[in-house]
Symmetry: C4
Subunit: 289 residues, 4 copies
């Protein structure tokens, strides 16, 4: 029993270091982790530049393998120290952590495609937890609930944009023809989206007067349509702000608890600072004796 | 009389399958319909790519004819099963359904232009009915009423944009001249709209210092003007949201009834779930005995 | 006296036809006027297209002279029928009407530059009066008062954008140099505005890594800055909407009077429908006996 | 003592002229200063245009040295007349004033890089003080507090945009490859930001169908994402407007005091018009006896 207890303590301490950012060791771990992630992204980027790859390819390759092995060890440690490992494995961060290591191993056997480790960029989202920025997390929460509320409306809008693009793309294909670069309907639809979203690469551009007239119409439409999602998000966000603090407008997020530790058992986070038990599964949070 | 009754029952059942998405058969019909529409759009797109047309042109042509005949049968069935066929024929969906089949038949006699069957994309709007997404339809309703309210203001705004484009387009034509690509006033006006809407293809660009100065002015104006329709839609949509739920802000659309069946007589839809008679013409909804 | 009276009646009738859109003759006059303006703009545009000018240049020239003489007669009639002609001459429409005719006469003596008659496009703003669209005029009024309220804030914003453009333009000039097209600081500042406003012609584009890094920064800044004027106009417009109808939100503009006649004496318009005297100068409105 | 007093008076008067815009001399000084700043920016711009530099390079160089010496004298005068010179030196305007003169001196020894005097553009921000525009400063204050409130949320948003750009940039690099211009991951990430912000230079554009499909996705995402910061600023600004004037909506900024003098001791500005002592350090404001 003493053995199990010591093991539990060892796991518990590792869990605290890896998953939480309140203790000194936990914060140091997260900062080091972020630096390693940034370095590894820099390595992949540098390797893709031909001149640098020729000169330092060998060094970069070794550096990347070192990072990959570190990440693999961290991934295993994360699985070991959680009570319900499958919950972690299939969580957002679990999948991101897996995708951050696996392309490198695949590239060992198949070759090519190891650039996919750029998925590591998603790991940078951990920065918010490390910085322990109450305002940032609160902001992010309000933002995401506003976006969630306007999701349905924005889907309707995007769907309408796509249907418009198919129809106007086909029209432009019929009017302009292959000489102006409108070689097929998919290309024309692509051009139509480029124009409607006001990106306007200019690799393809209408040449005939009628084509330019319709292009004008598409552009003005795109210029006006942008008002729709903006108006939706504005309205939803305003109502979120009003809902969130109806009586104490000076303290915007009074009830946001940002203790960064997470439950050993169910992996839920954002516990109250003085919480003793997980609000989600009732498991004791500071399980260290 | 029994004959007429049985005929009525047969028509009634077909009507339920084609127009409604509440029964199992009706839902299956609509899902199949959507898949066929998507397929037919894919066929037209693929046919427009030269390399694919050369290899599989024959197959695609047959596939398109099959789809066209299916759509024609559906169109006829829709006309037969409604009490007031002209109401359907001249409704939005009626016209779209007609435009989805007719270009193919025309192409049989004249040749060319059958790409216009891309109008079938509009039929995809039916997806909202099939998915029976209360939130989506509600969202769409609020959106369209907000857009309706801001229509007049946005017209004023678009009109001002057009007048500005004519004036600045003429100025640029006088300043830049034919060497920079501003070969005529219509082309210059086209360029001016491209710039004002911040699309910026770059196929035509000012070269003279004075031209670039005015272009700068146009761009900053365009960058600022976009704020106007956005502000209008924001304000209107916010007031729609506030109007829509003044006392129960938690349940956003309590009165939206989304029963997807439509009246056999007058084609009105969105009846209450427990409705026995059409709210529009008083015709009995479930006329099956 | 009877002579003066008849003269007054004659002038009064002409005034009614030219300046007002309530009577049948007045409306007909305005509609004809708008058609002539549209035609004359079309003539100038067509003349600027070389191939058309070669074939029909003679005809177009005559047509334009006819329009110019008609406009001159109208301009003189407008001056004669108003009591205070200078008020009209120096009003917005007075200046526009003058600028619509004068370039053609100048082109007679000097040659070239008659394309400036495109200023006639501004006369099209009269369309709002003709259509007598209560909603449109009300919309325009609310819009312009919202824009007036946010003018100061948008000036601050535009000023900041210009200063940013000068500084980043200079930086890009130093970094990129003449090879990439950044041949001078003014050109670089021009490019910076093209990028900041998200127009992005692409005639000039950074080539060096450092230049692209700064370009990235400018683009993200421009992408974010657009939020500022939009937010300002949204907020102002929302407060205009709330102010305009605090107690009867269903009838948006209950006090908008849209009688299109204007005072003979002081040229003020938008009188109440049952007004007998000008609200501005006290002059009798229907001065026909 | 009389000596110290007269010295104090002399410094006090100079302080009033240089730092304040309420007296006649102070206003004249600021107007002259602004004109000199504008001239000096024009000189730097003109010098960068090769053809002008060849013809008038000598004259422009002398003119710039004159301006630089004037600015140096002003900088010294500013340091002398403030009680706490270090507070000024490390304030925003202190640093800007320093950066406005130093590049010219450096260019004397090293050569090149004197174009950095374009930092003088930042000095133009003083225009708001000179014009003494109550509304403008009030507007700027409300704007900056709205921006301060939405800073955290916009950071979250920009961070997400950057992470998305890295991931999609890498994807595009893998799909398109070097032939289409996607020569390395950093270049691809640069292209991704160009596209996401709807700038769309077109110097690099996808060529493969799969690349164009992903580009379409990026563009629509960018077109939709813009709604987020706009919505945030709208909501924050609306709440600022509501907070600022809850009971007297007609007089927007009743409590903004815009006396342009600043304290001799602590450099704080925006004192009440009838203030006798600095609200920040208690130092007597009109210390002239």
């Amino acid at each position: 029993m003493s053995n199990q207890n010591s093991k539990s303590t060892w796991r518990s301490r590792l869990h605290e270091i890896i998953y939480e950012a309140d203790t000194r060791a936990g914060k140091a771990f997260d900062v080091v982790l972020l630096i390693v992630i940034l370095l590894s992204i820099a390595f992949v980027m540098l390797e893709s530049i031909r001149s640098i790859d020729r000169a330092y390819g060998e060094v970069l390759n070794i550096a990347e393998w070192v990072v990959t092995i570190l990440f693999s060890l961290e991934y295993i440690a994360r699985i070991i120290t959680v009570r319900k490992p499958f919950k972690y494995i299939f969580s957002f961060y679990g999948i991101v952590d897996f995708l951050s290591t696996i392309p490198m191993y695949i590239s060992f056997f198949i070759g090519g495609g190891h650039a996919l480790v750029a998925f590591r960029a998603l790991r940078l989202l951990r920065v918010f937890r490390v910085l322990k920025l109450a305002r940032y997390l609160g902001a992010s929460d309000m933002l995401s609930s506003a976006l969630k509320a306007s999701r349905a409306k924005i889907s309707v809008f995007l769907f309408a944009v796509l249907i418009l693009s198919v129809i106007f793309g086909t029209l432009m294909y019929l009017i302009e023809g292959a000489e102006s670069g409108f070689t097929s309907i998919p290309i024309s639809v692509y051009w139509c989206i480029v124009t409607l979203t006001t990106v306007g690469f200019g690799d393809i551009a209408p040449v005939t007067p009628l084509g330019q007239l319709i292009a004008t119409f598409i552009m003005i439409m795109g210029y006006g349509i942008i008002a729709v999602p903006t108006g939706i998000v504005s309205a939803e966000y305003t109502s979120q702000v009003n809902k969130g603090a109806p009586k104490a407008p000076k303290k915007p997020y009074p009830n946001t608890h940002l203790n960064s530790q997470s439950c050993h058992n169910c992996h839920a986070d954002k516990h109250k600072d003085n919480a003793e038990f997980c609000y989600n599964c009732g498991y004791r949070l500071h399980h260290d004796v």
